[in-house]
């Protein structure tokens, strides 16, 4: 089966206040890092892997140097057989930089056909509260610029429960985002992670001006209603697509398919093994081929992951792939009676309400299947 390739670029102009992803604003090492990516990519050269999705994530991969980007793409195509219709996504931050259109043009010419823009909000004060460096206007300009260059598959990331966000500002953000006619939207609830600026503040008792739980629920209702009215399919817990433009790369994760991760701390799932590259830049530079945390995924673990991941999709899990127990059916029926799931002859999937308590449901389902 065709695989996905994920390439991680950990450099950013500045670290956002909520982010606990591996990233750094130290850019001196960019060129060295790009070289290491090439080495890592080329190590797959003889393996004969065909990939139909590629995802450049970060960090901010749009910050790659021109020379580096060219070498990385060249190595990518040398190492893997990239299909003609491959989905090649680049994560980028909306930007007012003068050379930004040029950069987008570069990636477009290298084969990128999908953009994922970290827009987060269309409110100035909310973006500032998040420590983002762009403005709502930058988002609009960036999308326009990308459209002009021929990008016909654009995804916007938006956040729910941003400091100071209200139902009204959320509504405004949604309508401004929809006005840009994105093909895809990813909606995340801000989660406060321990080792972030927000985490530290929160621990000290700062409420960060976050909406309360009831409001958060109303916000989420608003998101689902609004997007559904605008023809978006809620195909994954936090992802919405128009005209079938689901993220093909991310679907591979959610369908427990295989993928190759290249770059610092990037995870791979290949030949039933999950592993990751060294998780500090220095360690990665030292040996880009090192595999850490190698974990063999047994049949039952694989099945558990399939259940855990595919229940995130509106398509749900296929009953053929699992071995349903009587306990599973009892639970599934109870979930259905309570409006948390849909059970058909061949699938079980969660409803909107079910997704909101999906951690608990997944645990119960795995228990009922004796997989946890």
């Amino acid at each position: 089966m065709n695989k996905g390739v994920y390439i991680h670029y950990p450099f950013c102009d500045a670290k956002c206040l909520y982010c606990d992803f591996y990233s750094t604003s130290d850019t001196r090492k960019r060129e060295l890092y790009e070289e290491a990516l090439v080495t890592a990519l080329l190590s797959y050269k003889e393996k004969g892997i065909t990939a139909d999705t590629v995802f450049f994530g970060g960090g901010t991969p749009s910050l790659m140097t021109e020379e580096g980007a060219k070498r990385v793409f060249s190595a990518l195509r040398e190492a893997f057989n990239i299909t003609d219709n491959a989905e090649i996504t680049l994560e980028a931050n909306p930007s007012s930089l003068a050379d930004f259109p040029e950069r987008l043009g570069l990636f477009r010419s290298l084969g990128v056909n999908r953009l994922s823009l970290g827009s987060q909000s269309m409110q100035k004060n909310e973006l500032e509260a998040l420590g983002r460096r762009h403005s709502p206007l930058d988002v609009e300009n960036t999308v326009k610029c990308a459209r002009n260059m021929g990008f016909d598959n654009i995804s916007l990331d938006l956040m729910v429960r941003i400091p100071h966000q209200t139902l009204e500002t959320l509504e405004d953000t949604l309508s401004k985002a929809l006005a840009l006619s994105p093909e895809h939207l990813s909606l995340y609830t801000l989660s406060i992670e321990e080792k972030t600026v927000f985490g530290v503040r929160h621990k000290k008792g700062d409420d960060l001006s976050l909406a309360d739980e009831d409001t958060e629920e109303e916000m989420w209702d608003k998101v689902c209603d609004t997007l559904s009215r605008h023809g978006f399919e809620h195909y994954e817990v936090s992802n919405f697509a128009r005209d079938g433009r689901r993220s093909r790369h991310n679907l591979k994760y959610w369908q427990a398919e295989e993928y190759v991760g290249i770059g610092v701390a990037a995870h791979s799932y290949l030949d039933r093994e999950r592993f990751y590259s060294p998780s500090s830049i220095d360690a990665f530079l030292e040996n880009p081929l090192r595999r850490d945390g190698v974990e063999y995924i047994s049949d039952s673990e694989g099945l558990a992951e399939y259940v855990m991941l595919s229940l995130r999709l509106s398509d749900g899990i296929s009953l053929e792939k699992i071995t349903p127990t009587p306990e599973f059916y009892t639970l599934a029926k109870r979930l259905e009676e309570n409006g948390l799931a849909r059970l058909s002859e061949s699938t079980l999937s969660l409803t909107e309400r079910g997704w909101r308590v999906s951690n608990s449901i997944i645990e119960e389902i795995l228990n009922s299947l004796k997989l946890l």
């Binding site: 994920y6 990813s186 995340y188 609830t189 989660s191 739980e213 958060e216 629920e217 989420w220 817990v237 936090s238 991310n250 994760y253 959610w254 993928y259 991760g261 701390a265 990037a266 995870h267 791979s268 799932y269 999950r274 990751y276 945390g293 974990e295 558990a304 992951e305 855990m308 991941l309 995130r312 109870r334 979930l335 309570n338 948390l340 997704w355 909101r356 308590v357 999906s358 951690n359 608990s360 449901i361 997944i362 645990e363 119960e364 795995l366 228990n367 946890l372």
Partner: protein, 601 residues
């Protein structure tokens, strides 16, 4: 050198916190038996728990040397007594081993209910009572008022009572001189056949049971063959000696008038019950000491391991505790809700708490306990009489002709300003007022007849909280009385949770039911589905609350690198559930079981 004229056997009687253990420390120190810097605080209380709670659970005895001002050497045997009502029988046996008692009274608190109960017990045993006024260093100390109280309430002279501070060591020598002067030497006859009273016994993993005795007549040496007159068990003595603060001091022979320990490769405490008489197998004394009784549990509760896999650990722990506590009883029981556990019998509430604490502390067990209950006497329609210690066996309304519950006579001592609130409490707990006595102008002694069922529930806590801790309670068993009792069942999601069932008076069932369902609602976290929490009597629902369904858990993104993290989260989530009990489809945290045990606001 054996010189019975110079032996003084005595104990210390005091209310909790009035300074018994501290005084014991000072006595040890001043007699130079222990150097103070070597001494861990309060060495007579040698269980951690005792030290922390400031109470003495098991009696111990220690031999001290004292040289009086006249140059004579005296042997003091200080016998420590448990200070709590639950251990009344043990107290009475310890008292039998003494000729005198120091009555320690806090110079600011005055005489308390327990002090009174134990003093009466001591007077019953014809002991010479020596009042000692302690804590005179406190600003609130009023030694004259307290002396008056002692004379008025107890009726013994207190004019010359030593006024001391055990804490600072002030006037401790006065106490020692009073012991020499006022406490009589034992009446002894070492030529008669051996007659010794067991007042305590502890289990030692290496030496078997160590028996503590007061020898009344005769003498005892290693290799002698002894017999326990009530149990009939016989043993060959391995070792005899005296217990010193630093450990045992072996002797060839111990004599009448002395306090001694005996080891004889005894495997079970059942053979060496407190109150029994030790004599020589081949030359027995004529009559055993009167008053021997086997102590019986009064309060019962189910004890379950929070983690079902630790059932065997719990059983082993209970067996170990029983080695040292023959009053503890337990038998296996099972509950649909809690799995396998034990129905345990205790002398009283304190005893129960002590056992539960020790299980958790010394054996590192997490426990779930069920509401404490008492033994009900039921006369069935068939005429058969049954004693029921477990709500599971409580008869249905149409099966029993008559149900009786145990009653106690309670004595409550309190400053007068709390009399009203105490009367309200007692009335609320179905108490019948007997009488009230003003023992001084501002202290009152109240007598009530109360169902034990109400006392075991949360009476102590309620009394303490309503009187800011000033009131004290003592009770003694009275008799059984016919009563209108019902079994209250608690249902979660429609299923009865057997471990939460309990017996309650019919008039109080409704209020109790309401409180319990409220408490459960507060303590059961929201789950995927709505959970009805109901209380029922004989299938009829009398109270209901609902735990609403959970609306969200964490909605988080999940990409390639998050999968491992996500899996760990699920595992952690599952691990967290181990602190919960799965009852049918409902997860109940352990705290929920504990929360229903304390309902008094």
């Amino acid at each position: 050198m054996y010189n019975p004229e110079n032996i003084r056997n005595f104990c210390i009687i005091a209310h909790i916190d009035h300074g018994k253990s501290t005084l014991a420390d000072r006595l040890l120190e001043i007699t130079d038996t222990v150097k103070s810097r070597e001494m861990e605080e309060q060495i007579l209380d040698n269980m951690d728990l005792e030290r922390e709670r400031g109470i003495t659970i098991k009696a111990r005895a220690v031999k001290l040397d004292y040289t009086a001002d006249d140059g004579q050497s005296y042997t003091f045997n200080l016998i420590d007594t448990p200070g709590h009502v639950d251990f009344n029988y043990e107290v009475s046996r310890s008292l039998s081993a003494c000729e005198g008692a120091l009555l320690v009274v806090d110079a600011s608190q005055g005489v308390e209910a327990q002090t009174l109960a134990n003093t009466y017990l001591a007077l019953d045993h014809d002991l010479e009572i020596l009042p000692v006024i302690n804590k005179i260093d406190l600003p609130a100390a009023n030694p004259d008022r307290v002396k008056n109280e002692i004379e008025e309430i107890i009726g013994i002279p207190a004019e010359d009572a030593p006024c001391i501070s055990a804490k600072t060591g002030l006037n401790i020598k006065d106490v020692l001189d009073a012991v020499v002067k006022y406490i009589p030497a034992p009446k002894t006859n070492a030529e008669k056949p051996l007659k010794a009273l067991i007042f305590d016994a502890v289990y030692d993993a290496y030496r078997g049971v160590i028996v503590y005795v007061r020898i009344m007549e005769g003498k005892l040496s290693a290799k002698d063959k002894i017999r326990m007159m009530n149990t009939g068990a016989e043993f060959e003595v391995v070792e005899v000696g005296h217990l010193r603060p630093f450990g045992p001091e072996k002797r060839d022979t111990v004599y009448a008038g002395e306090v001694a320990y005996i080891t004889a490769a005894i495997k079970s405490l059942d053979d060496t019950q407190v109150g029994d008489t030790v004599t020589l197998a081949d030359n027995p004394t004529e009559e055993a000491f009167p008053g021997f009784k086997k102590v019986l549990p009064m309060v019962y509760s189910g004890i379950y391991p929070a983690d079902g896999a630790r059932y065997t650990d719990l059983r082993d722990a209970l067996e170990k505790l029983r080695l040292n506590d023959s009053a503890l009883t337990f038998e296996a029981e099972s509950s649909a809700a809690l799995g396998f556990g034990f129905r345990c019998g205790f002398l009283g509430l304190l005893h129960m708490e002590v056992i539960q604490d020790r299980l958790e502390r010394e054996f590192n067990l997490d426990l779930i306990t069920t509401a404490p209950g008492v033994i009900y006497k039921t006369v069935m329609k068939s005429g058969e009489v049954k004693y029921i210690d477990n709500p599971q066996n409580f008869p249905a309304a149409d099966e029993a002709e008559e149900i009786c519950e145990p009653m106690v006579k309670a004595t409550i001592l309190s400053p007068k300003e709390y009399v009203g609130t105490i009367m309200d409490l007692c009335q609320d707990r179905r108490g019948v007022f007997i009488d009230t006595k003003y023992i001084t102008t501002d202290r009152v002694e109240l007598h009530y007849r109360l169902p034990l069922n109400e006392i075991v529930y949360d009476f102590f806590d309620a009394l303490k909280s309503r009187t800011k801790g000033y009131a004290s309670l003592d009770y003694e068993m009275s008799d059984y009385e016919k009563s209108s009792l019902v079994k209250l069942d608690i249902m979660l999601n429609g299923d009865i949770v057997d471990a939460l069932s309990f017996i309650v008076h019919s008039e109080k069932a409704y209020a109790r039911a309401r409180k319990i369902v409220e408490k459960l609602k507060e303590n059961i976290p929201r789950q995927l589905f709505e959970i009805p929490v109901q209380a029922a009597i004989g299938g009829k629902i009398i109270a209901r609350e609902t735990v609403k369904a959970m609306r969200k858990d964490v909605l988080a993104k999940c990409y390639g690198g998050d999968i491992t993290r996500k899996k760990k989260l699920l595992e952690k989530q599952k691990e967290g559930k181990k602190k919960m009990r799965q009852l049918g489809t409902v997860e109940v945290p352990h705290e929920a079981f504990m929360a229903v045990l304390k309902l008094d606001e």
